[in-house]
């Protein structure tokens, strides 16, 4: 009968489903591939912002990967605090500097090979720096840090000896060579005049490095967003004899936001979660016995920038009034649950040159704010009004919360009224360039470990041009140039004190807090070093 056919159709569908389920279950348990031991899975919410070419890459995550794939002449040893002794040989075994500080000579490590067998020598060093300075990518570190203003030329003296002739006696030069922008490229993969970009399906061709602890064996970007990266041990690594890298294979998984990352590490799907977890997540994961939370030295700072092109912030008194109305304690304790520290200096705590100058303006000191603003006509009925901008793309941790806390803190003075405006990161950068924002929040990771990296790009009239806040003080410029050109530590310390006292008077930028690096790993993961370089060293991490 026709009726029975209808039933048997359902039965067929049911049988098919049962077969699929049984096949899946059988397959799952019987055909499991042997789990290799030396594999680590890292999860992150970061993504490569532009590319993995040191000539252009200037984002945190790009530099993190470049460090795994390449090496520089020198590097910071794990656990570094920024002292001179922390810089150790990498591709250079020894070095010396001339009396006037303008000529640096490096003796290179011998017997280091690129992956095609070519031996690393001085020509590669010259090629790297000529290329970086020559390409002069406007979005890259060579222009941002001003390599071209520091290095006159690079000379190959002999196969294993290279000389750098500098334009100024830049005291942080050695530190500069330790940063990822100075990493040596492989000419075979790095065309002289072109930046190397992501190539789908060709992980090796997507970056120009080659002398590092790892090789990039897989990099998938689905639709412009990173999906997965696989790092595998490089047998030619110059420190392979030391037993590095400790883990043969690292897989990096990318997550959309902190919530997904927190879930993933809690569920045990990844071994390491690094950047960015929110403060509440960190506190929660600290209570889990199967996980370990690592806290590193902070050198990440966030600060408020004030636009001096027009009122109200073209008046330094108003800028000081705003600085006096910032309640850093509330920010540190409420937004970040005590995981960061208050910052009263543009140079982070722990770095030489740090002085708590902004403390003189109070924390907060609403009386001072009202005193400063009263003569200018601002009071409870006529409040100082301006727009505070912040980014909404998760580029910095918890920006909306920070913005709201700042608003609350400033308005608690009774004489300030703040309007918030949040835009996503791309637009935020554009507004910065167009100089439409009156007050905006930004952040900074160190490029090289020297106070100059926190002074020159902020307070110097040309070094700070990327900030677009139109601050220029010739006296400040002079002090900065003296400080970066001087090699005596005591002299520099004095100069940086003067610079910062001047900064507290001018108040172009107001430092808010200093943050740590946080990583959460499974309890059997070891070898995590989160020091002042803010670098994640993949080759030191391993699982027991």
């Amino acid at each position: 009968m026709r009726g029975t056919r209808a039933i048997s159709k359902i039965a067929i569908v049911g049988i098919v489903i049962v077969i699929i389920v049984v096949a899946a279950v059988v397959g799952y348990f019987l055909m499991q591939p042997a789990k290799k031991e030396s594999v680590l899975i890292m999860g992150t919410t970061d993504t490569v912002e532009s590319c993995l070419d040191p000539a252009r890459a200037y984002d945190y995550f790009g530099w993190e990967i470049i460090q795994a794939l390449g090496s520089g002449l020198v590097e910071y040893r794990p656990g570094a605090t920024g002292a001179a002794e922390d810089i150790v040989p990498a591709l250079a075994t020894s070095w010396s500097v001339s009396q006037d500080g303008l000529v640096w000579t490096f003796n290179l490590r011998q017997g280091v090979k690129f992956d095609d067998g070519t031996e690393f020598n001085a020509t590669h060093v010259k090629y790297t720096f000529d290329r970086g300075i020559g390409i002069a990518d406007p979005e890259g570190p060579f222009v941002g840090i001003g390599y071209g203003d520091i290095i006159e030329n690079v000379t190959v003296v002999s196969k294993y000896v290279v000389k750098f002739y500098l334009k100024i006696p830049f005291s942080a030069f050695l530190s500069l060579l330790a940063c990822q922008a100075s990493y040596i490229v492989d000419p075979k993969y790095a065309p002289l005049n072109q930046v190397v970009e992501y190539k789908a399906g060709d992980a090796r061709g997507s970056h120009p490095m080659g002398l590092g602890p790892y090789k990039l064996t897989k990099w998938t970007r689905t639709a412009g967003r990173d999906e997965e990266m696989v790092l595998e041990a490089n047998p030619n690594y110059w420190n392979a004899t030391g037993g590095y890298p400790k883990t043969q294979k690292i897989i990096i998984k990318f997550y959309a936001d902190s919530a997904s990352l927190a879930l993933a590490i809690d569920a045990g799907e990844i071994d390491i979660a690094f950047r960015q977890l929110s403060a509440a997540d960190i506190n929660n994961l600290k209570t889990k016995t199967h996980l370990k939370v690592w806290q590193g030295t902070g050198a990440f700072i966030q600060y408020l920038v004030l636009q001096e092109k027009r009122p109200p912030f073209n008046n330094p008194i108003i800028r000081q009034a705003v600085a006096a109305a910032i309640n850093r304690t509330a920010i540190v304790n409420t937004v970040f649950l005590g995981q960061v520290q208050k910052l009263y200096s543009i140079i982070p705590v722990g770095m030489f040159g740090h002085t708590d100058v902004f403390l003189t303006l109070g924390d907060p000191n609403y009386t001072l704010t009202r005193q400063l603003l009263a003569p200018l006509g601002y009071n409870e009925t006529n409040k100082l009004t301006f727009k505070l901008w912040y980014e909404t793309s998760g580029h910095y941790p918890q920006s909306p919360q920070l913005a709201q806390m700042l608003k609350a803190s400033l308005e608690a003075s009774g004489v300030i009224s703040v309007e918030l405006e949040g835009v996503e990161w791309t637009q935020y950068r554009q507004e910065r360039i167009r100089e439409t924002m009156d007050a905006y929040i930004l952040g900074w990771y160190p490029d090289y470990i020297d106070p100059d990296d926190y002074i020159y790009p902020f307070l110097h009239s040309s070094g700070g041009s990327w900030l677009h806040h139109n601050y220029a003080n010739p006296k400040m410029d002079q002090l900065i140039e003296w400080a970066r050109g001087n090699t005596t530590a005591s002299v520099r310390e004095q100069l940086y004190e003067q610079i910062q006292e001047l900064m507290a008077e001018d108040c172009p930028i107001i430092p808010i807090y200093q943050g740590s690096a946080w990583a959460v790993t499974k309890s059997n993961v070891k070898g995590v070093y989160l020091d002042i370089t803010q670098s994640w060293r993949h080759w030191l991490v391993y699982k027991e």
């Binding site: 936001d257 902190s258 919530a259 927190a262 879930l263 809690d266 929110s278 403060a279 509440a280 997540d281 506190n283 929660n284 994961l285 509330a330 409420t334 937004v335 649950l337 909404t392 793309s393 909306p400 919360q401 913005a403 709201q404 806390m405 608003k407 609350a408 308005e411 918030l420 405006e421 949040g422 996503e424």
Partner: protein
Amino acid sequence: MSKPAVKRNMLSRIIPAIGSLKERGLSGWLVILGAAIVTSIILMTLLAPWISPFDPTTKGINVGAPLTPPNSKFPFGTNDLGQDMLSRVISGGGIMLQVAFLSVAICLAIGVPLGLFSSYIDGMFDRSICLIMDSIYAFPGLILAIAIAAMLGRGVVNMALSIAVVYVPSYFRVVRSQVLSIKEMPYVEAARSIGAKSRTILFKYILPNVVPSIVVVATVNFADAILTAAGLTFVGLGVEVDVPDWGWDLTNGRRLLPSGAWWVITFPGIFIILLALGFTLMGEGLSEILNPKVGE
């Protein structure tokens, strides 16, 4: 006539309506229940400045320790900035309600007349508008709303506009199909043969018959507008963060959920569901009353 008669007329209009709803059985109850939910939420939002225990804006930061679970002082707990969640829930419906009402108003103002004229006039004009409407209709609503909101910027008006653009085709279609079927009816032909102007026909005969379907679409529009507004806020295109808003609490609460702070997302979430539910119930009930599917 004297005043009392006028009063009686009004009352007898309102009460019989409710009375007739009750007569309709379940569908009537659905409408009443839905309307009750919506009205109470609107009332709560309007009375918020007087009934919230604490200030839900940035002035209310740190009234309590951040992320305290629900207790006697803070029945709904506090969020990550130490703001009282109960106050935020009481005050937070305003944005969504504004967006919903505004988008429906825009849709009514644009979609209904467009549908009426286009289907009545017919021809090339109708065909091309149909094509445009179909293309918009086929496109996934949230993504279109995101694209438009990204272009226009943040804020209530822009959110309402982007939702309206996504929803106009629905009104258009419904109106059009009704007009097409009514157009051919004998009494319309009769009116035309008497020499009635098109405008009269349109507004006196066709429009009143189209109204029931519009009402149903409007209720669905309300519910969808609320959910889309939540979606827009999720991708960062909502209102500014210092304005108390359920959508923002939902997004923020999601970030805090893995760490165990379930109360930040749950209570606003419940109210969003309630509000959308209220409109949907009204829509379901009205749809059954106005277009009875089953002969009872």
